[in-house]
Symmetry: C2
Subunit: 410 residues, 2 copies
């Protein structure tokens, strides 16, 4: 079973929008064992769209077209599809009724253009749109399937998951599928990961490992093609164990987990409370820690003390210490962590101080110099970092490093 994807929209060819639908669809199809060999993007142009559809029908069993189902003259997908399969467009009463309901719900008058969206190629089945007005279409044509989905991802994704996926699963002729698992690392650069698991990165099909570097983190993605879920899981497990052996200390999570979700869960599990004192990150550490549902169980207080005055008056940092070492120093970081912990009466105090730039650096204390401290009733930890990048990148790297220090010492 082979599928291909055609994205329709001049805004894509102008680069005004990035096409995330093609990746979403390819990924979803690969998971149920349908191969995708081509994506093509064309503009809102009938001639080029129809020649692309014709070409796709020659080489693929399933052709999915995204976009161009809206109410304006630029929306040409339904008409072009009808033309390619030599059918006329007919008015669909049910679609029109649903569009009416949608506009009523939004408290808006039904526009004239609504009629256009209810015109679909004769013989097409429609896929209901729970979010917007554009209907999806499924057309069986000479043993091929032509499918049209709306362009906006918030309409396309639920329509695919609820309406199309069950249908596609029935079409599968074999049990082969592609499955992936992400292993997430931090505290180690990509090039070191590369060195440590070089042999695994060079594996050939059916099971391969990809490496992707992000800001402060590395993702290893194990992908396998196998007969059925069980075999796929076994293939993945085998490689995962090998990666674990070489890199376990740097692995913080799997799949969709984030550093903050893992750290938050750990805080809940260990029943620890935390308070945060921030300087250069400006509230980002607190923000990440409170992104997790249930964070009120562990997060008590955050103070962003930008000026020395506030560091002294609100975090009780010693004036003499600030004068001697400067605000960006080991001892100030440690005092911030200790004092915020005491002020909020929490198990843990976490503090960061540094220079996010672009201004404010000196030869002795350059932009990117950061101190992070974690203090409990028993421990006092302090680490120095030298980050590079833009202001926002330095803030993010600092916050992630603070979460990692916390995670490793909980």
């Amino acid at each position: 079973m082979k599928a291909e994807i055609i994205s329709c929209g001049t805004e894509l060819l102008l680069g005004h929008n990035i096409d995330t639908n093609a990746a979403f669809l390819s990924n979803s199809l690969s998971r149920i064992g349908i191969d995708v060999f081509y994506h093509t993007t064309v503009g809102d142009n009938k001639e080029r769209l129809s020649s692309t559809i014709r070409e796709a029908l020659k080489r693929s069993d399933i052709v999915i077209i995204t976009g161009g189902l809206g109410p304006t003259v630029d929306d040409i997908t339904a008409g072009t599809l009808a033309n390619v399969i030599n059918k006329d467009l007919i008015f669909n009463r049910n679609i029109f009724k649903d569009i009416g309901v949608y506009f009523k719900k939004c408290n808006l008058k039904l526009p004239k253009s609504a009629v256009k969206q209810a015109l679909i190629p004769r013989g097409a089945d429609r896929l209901q749109n729970g979010v917007g007005t554009a209907p999806g279409l499924i057309i069986k044509h000479e043993k091929r399937y032509l499918i049209a989905l709306p362009g906006p991802p918030r309409e396309l994704i639920p329509m695919f998951d609820k309406g199309l996926l069950p249908h596609l699963k029935k079409l599968r002729t074999q049990n082969t599928l592609i499955k992936s698992r992400s292993i997430r690392l931090t505290g180690i650069p990509e090039i070191k990961v590369n060195e440590k698991i070089k042999a695994l990165l060079e594996l050939d099909a059916p099971t391969t490992v990809g490496i992707y570097a992000g800001l402060c983190e590395v993702e290893l993605k194990i992908t396998t093609k196998a007969q059925g879920d069980k075999k796929a899981d076994a293939n993945i497990k085998k490689i995962e164990n090998k990666i674990n052996k070489k890199l376990s200390e740097f692995i913080y999570g799997y799949g969709d987990e984030t550093l903050e979700s893992v750290t938050g869960e750990l805080l809940i599990k260990k029943k620890k409370t935390i308070s945060v004192a921030e300087s250069c990150t400006g509230g980002l550490v607190s923000n990440l820690l409170t992104n997790i549902p249930g964070s009120s169980k562990y997060f008590v207080m955050g103070i962003t003390a930008y000026s020395n005055k506030i560091k002294m008056s609100k975090l009780n940092i010693d004036k003499a210490l600030l004068k001697k070492d400067g605000a960006v120093s080991k001892d100030v970081a440690k005092a911030m962590a200790e004092n915020v912990r005491q002020l909020a009466d929490t198990d843990i105090g976490l503090a960061v101080t540094g220079i996010a730039g672009p201004a404010g650096g000196t030869r002795k204390k350059p932009v990117g110099l950061v101190y992070i401290s974690m203090v409990t009733r028993k421990k006092k930890l302090i680490k120095e970092f030298a980050f590079t990048g833009t202001r926002e990148e330095i803030k993010l790297q600092t916050a992630k490093a603070a979460l990692d220090l916390l995670r490793l010492n909980l």
Copy 2:
């Protein structure tokens, strides 16, 4: 002059990566008047890549291939290109030298695979890679241009901008170009914007207006095709004035501006200092305000008071008030703003309190209920909001609404 883009990479067809290069290249080409009519994505498969290149050469003057220039066996672009144009691959001494320098700089041993990256089709010019090891390629072939660029955006973008763009500008046969300008709005839903400027949204070429809705904001993008920069600017200005007339109160910025950059600049300009007290946003307001270089000029202190205990002890909120109205209430928001302003001795105090969810809502105070207050020595403003979405979406909408309240009342 017509161009088309071919993205090469099995990871794209598996949906593991989203292709941002195609949008970047299309956008850059349209700005210098080179039309892009097709993007095609193929996997690391010689046969499909070469048939796609052959098809592209039939219909376009410039064919740009991204990806597949790395050192592994999966990297097939240079070999496939050589095959399509009937040339052999030859060893390029300069490329090999540069790769050597790169590995030395990274303190790594030169791997055997480095030789492969120095093999390029006979007659190809290379584009230097300032960031990685993969060279770019330019091949003139029967009046067409075949161009290969590396897949990682941080290598592709500088290579395009510095190496390829000056070259492409010389190839242009006409002065027609496409230019865009974004107008950014907040505080008004997309559907209302739609109503207010319906006629403009239905404009036909050469000047059109697109509407894109984000979380808490709407972008209007004016795009025009014109002979030369001056004419393009005039076309855009004409439409921009019309939009301004209808929507000026909601426009917060243009182009790449963000709500925080605009608000930060305004604070600097007006020489005002600010402190922030946050509950449900957990530090996000402070974080956004401190993303702007130079924010230490205006930002003095942020307090994230998650628990009632901290609201009382650190923000001096009256226990009786918390008991009577609850933490999520108008008067608590106002008291938080006023007290943080006094504690930090700033011109402005900004405060938010609300329920970010998913838990914690009641019938009277549902998830998404938010109060935002801004207090100065003379003014006390308070606004109520009812947001929907995930926890992170509610946090972001709250923070943006707080910045907007600030912006409008500075």
